[in-house]
Symmetry: C2
């Protein structure tokens, strides 16, 4: 399982759109707080693998491409544990 | 804006995986309760338009293809207003 503390350090950039508390600050962006951890991993990998296009994928593909699989696990653990 | 009451009638099938209360009952599926309405609309349209592949898209593409844009707005309103 991912390390939420390590994930937090990688997730600072996420907060710009998804909120420091995981509640999106911009309409059309998903809340991440308490989201299913495995789903977060799958979604980030889908963006990284360019399996998600359209919508805001032009933002998320490059963001996800900068994360290793290890980083993705940690970031997912960080948002999943948020209350 | 969508009609959450009409959305509920279309969302019965969603509950099989995403939970009657919008909290996923299967690991790897996203919670939908209280999710951003515009994001839910974009996501369903992305599946319908086959812009999302990989992961569970093989499940969600056919599900979304059965929803009109009007249905999508209503289903999104339904999950977004869940507390």
């Amino acid at each position: 399982a991912g390390d939420p503390v390590a994930g937090k350090s990688k997730a600072a950039v996420c907060a710009a759109c998804h909120g420091a508390d995981g509640v999106a600050v911009i309409p059309g962006y998903p809340n991440l707080k308490g989201q299913n951890e495995q789903y977060l991993i799958r979604s980030l990998k889908a963006y990284k693998n360019k399996e998600r296009t359209g919508g805001m994928a032009m933002v998320m593909q490059p963001q996800a491409s900068m994360l290793s699989d290890h980083d993705i696990a940690n970031v997912a653990a960080y948002f999943a544990q948020m209350k």
